[in-house]
């Protein structure tokens, strides 16, 4: 199988409201940034383009079609789209390179959630016959999960606050983060419940923005003459939809993907985990088999800023940046989708 290199990554600042900017205006600066990193002019210089987005975020059908206007797709290009986080657009692109139909690919994800009420919009992702009519929003579902973990003694409120504290502190070094600071555990624990047992700080903020990445064969990366990291593994698994049909205190699909990739076969220096709620980071670390030696979410993770439909790709990008900078030799990135971690993707990024 062909070795795949990550050669460029860029992400917009996480902001609660991107104001007047439309999707194209959100995407373009990130595309220009990854083109500049590789030294190319536009999407014509790569063999394949794949994007991830969700029409319902901005409430317009075919929102992704506007994304094509950012690419300079004249003459026509090889292009595809997933109605998923762009981490899965990365997955599709990897298959395209492995089968030999592309030597390079541009991946981007974008979301403008501010026009709607994201937790309510996502309630309509549930089973349309039995669950969606209840308008169970994503925060309430995550609160049910947190309650189970707390009651079973698997997680404590103090551990959840520690996750938040570490996110805020790490985010101080991340100029793109939306929430950063140095809150004390006592302050965090003194916060009023939001959707009990979750406090507002246990929940990722809603952010507008975009992220882009370029991957290539190792040969193409060398031709471009740019620093790269190797994407040595990527896998993803689905779980039952109905939260009552699975053990919400474990992330079985994350463990399946991690085991299939052999995450634990070698030391993991850094991990970027897509945990929109603090308790989920704890159970995801467990499912990934991470130990004390792994630095978790040095960017602050999505608790510091959550670009819907791009946060998963951003996790891979954050690990890439640290591996290329020499801060880590081997890192793990994780992406999630669906209610209470229904669908999970794991990727391994290693030094060249």
């Amino acid at each position: 199988m062909r070795d795949i290199a990550i050669v460029a990554y860029s992400q917009s600042p996480c902001v609660a409201d991107a104001g007047a900017a439309n999707e194209v205006e959100l995407i373009m600066p990130q595309l220009q940034a990854v083109y500049a990193q590789v030294g190319i002019d536009n999407a014509q210089a790569v063999d394949f383009v794949c994007s991830g987005s969700c029409d319902y975020l901005q409430g317009a059908a075919f929102a992704f079609v506007a994304g094509v206007d950012a690419l300079g797709a004249v003459p026509p290009i090889k292009e595809s789209h997933v109605e998923m986080d762009a981490a899965w657009a990365l997955y599709e692109s990897v298959l395209k390179i492995r089968m030999g139909h592309a030597d390079s690919a541009l991946i981007y994800g974008f979301g403008k959630s501010s026009p709607g009420e994201l937790p309510t919009v996502l309630s309509q992702r549930l089973d349309p016959y039995y669950l969606a009519p209840l308008w169970l929003d994503t925060v309430s579902l995550a609160a049910l999960q947190a309650r189970l973990l707390l009651e079973q003694g698997r997680v404590s409120e103090r551990q959840m606050a520690e996750v938040v504290q570490r996110s805020r502190r790490n985010a101080r070094a991340n100029p793109l983060a939306q929430l950063a600071g140095d809150p004390s555990l006592d302050d965090l624990l003194a916060e009023e419940p939001f959707v009990a047992p979750l406090r507002r700080s246990d929940c990722a903020p809603v952010s507008d923005g975009a992220a882009a990445m370029i991957i290539a064969t190792v040969e193409q990366a060398r031709t471009w003459g740019v620093p790269y990291a190797r994407l040595t593994g990527i896998d993803h698994r689905m779980e039952n939809h109905n939260p009552c049909l699975r053990d919400l205190t474990r992330s079985t699909s994350t463990r399946q993907a991690a085991e299939a990739l052999g995450v634990s076969d070698a030391p993991v220096d850094v991990a970027e985990i897509y945990a929109p709620f603090s308790h989920q980071e704890i159970l995801l670390c467990e499912a990934l088999g991470l130990g004390q030696e792994t630095q978790v979410n040095p960017s602050g993770g999505v608790l510091a800023g959550n670009l819907m439909m791009a946060s998963g790709l951003a996790r891979v990008g954050e690990v890439f940046r640290r591996v290329v900078a020499g801060e880590a030799r081997r890192g793990v990135a994780h992406a999630t989708s669906g209610p209470c971690l229904q669908h999970n993707l794991v990727a391994i990024v290693e030094g060249a």
């Binding site: 029409d55 797709a73 026509p76 789209h81 089968m99 139909h101 698994r237 689905m238």
Partner: protein, 386 residues
């Protein structure tokens, strides 16, 4: 470098305007269960599930693959959701094939669907935005001016669209799954049907259907079932922007480039001679002559002559029958329509197309397009191993 892959199982629902007898999951399972049975495999033998459909607003369920995971046997497996507008049925087949062709998977399930009766599709596509007037003219209003421009430049016989409308419905009458069953349709009836978006008449436009289509795609060492495999000999996708200054809308370059790519992979130089039949996305009758030219079956401005000659008609014994299944003009569950084209091409080369079989077909083209005729997906399948 790509690993060989073949279609070993195909399943489709009966297409109908309202399938009120089944849930969304039930609709998909009707197609999926048939595809698995056709391939002689069970969910345990499937390594990944790839699902495609057109906008979520057609049913009002956000990212419905989450809810459908259980019914599709995807638990514990990778599952991907493709959405590339109207071409999505074709793209989903291509993305599914890439799972096998990349050497990463042995056997995958691809499924596409639409249950438009669950919502109001016309409304779903017309959320008002201030920089355009709200005419609610739909896809017909968008494509009618392009068809008019084709008629102007080609000087086509104005009856060409009527001929296609009759031909595809007669083909559809051979296919028990087709939504419209109009075995006795006449040219006069089409000509007399109400004009909707001039020059498109009611009977020259596709219906709106509920339905699903599924395929099992397998690696060379994982073939199964009693029927011959349909080998994938080429896959291609192309996209261009909806609008740009000087865009060729009648004969889009993305379509021409996509066809050239897929023909090169399949070793085809003269599609009319070397292909035995084709399943082409024709939602409005005039798109047959337009795509005949775009896909290289006829020279520019000559497509309508090929249609009028009967070359694309199974009933008239044409040399290059198009849309023997009845095509999009007979059944149109939007998100599945592209995959139906791909699956029907595969049925032909497997010799399994029932009453609409082209005798001895060994090589066929499947085609899908979407958006403002800007997204294209195509594959060539054959009876012969590539």
């Amino acid at each position: 470098m790509a690993e060989r892959a073949a279609v070993v199982g195909i399943g489709q629902t009966r297409y109908k305007s309202k399938r009120q007898d089944v849930s969304m999951a039930g609709l998909l399972r009707e197609a999926v269960d048939r595809a698995l049975a056709d391939a002689g495999v069970s969910f345990d033998d499937i390594d990944a599930v790839i699902m495609g459909k057109a906008p979520d607003m057609f049913e009002g369920v956000v990212m419905p693959e989450s809810y459908l995971a259980d019914a599709l046997g995807a638990v514990g497996k990778p599952m991907l959701r493709v959405h590339t507008a109207g071409s999505v049925g074709g793209s989903t087949a291509i993305v599914a094939a890439s799972h096998v062709q990349s050497g990463s998977f042995r056997r995958v399930l691809a499924v596409t669907w639409e249950k438009q009766s669950e919502s109001n599709a016309m409304w779903a596509l017309s959320t008002p935005q201030p920089f355009a007037v709200h005419l609610n003219a739909g896809a017909g209003g968008y494509f009618a001016p392009i068809i008019r421009e084709y008629m102007r430049r080609s000087g086509a016989d104005p009856n060409t669209g009527i001929r296609v409308a009759v031909k595809d419905r007669r083909h559809g009458a051979r296919n028990p799954l087709a939504h419209l069953q109009l075995p006795d349709i006449t040219e006069q009836e089409v000509a007399d049907s109400p004009m909707l978006w001039d020059p498109i008449r009611f009977l020259e436009a596709c219906p709106s259907s509920d339905g699903a289509c599924a395929m099992v795609i397998a690696a060379e060492d994982a073939l199964s079932g009693d029927k011959p495999p349909a080998w994938i000999q080429g896959v291609a996708m192309r996209s261009e922007p909806t609008m740009y200054a000087g865009r060729e809308e009648v004969n889009p370059q993305a379509g021409r480039d996509c066809a050239a790519d897929v023909y090169a992979q399949a070793g085809i130089r003269d599609p009319r001679r070397e292909l035995d039949c084709a399943e082409i996305y024709v939602p409005f009758s005039w798109y047959e002559p337009m795509w005949l030219e775009n896909l290289g079956f006829a020279d520019e401005g000559e497509g309508w002559k090929l249609t009028l000659s009967g070359a694309t008609s199974l009933d008239e014994g044409g040399d290059i029958p198009w849309n023997c299944s009845g095509g999009v003009l007979s059944s149109n569950p939007i998100g599945a329509s592209g995959m139906i084209r791909f699956a029907e091409a595969a049925r032909q080369v497997r010799g399994d197309a029932g009453d609409h079989q082209v005798p001895g077909a060994r090589k066929a083209l499947g085609h899908a397009y979407g958006g403002g005729a800007q997204f294209f997906a195509m594959w060539v399948v054959g009876a012969d191993r590539p």
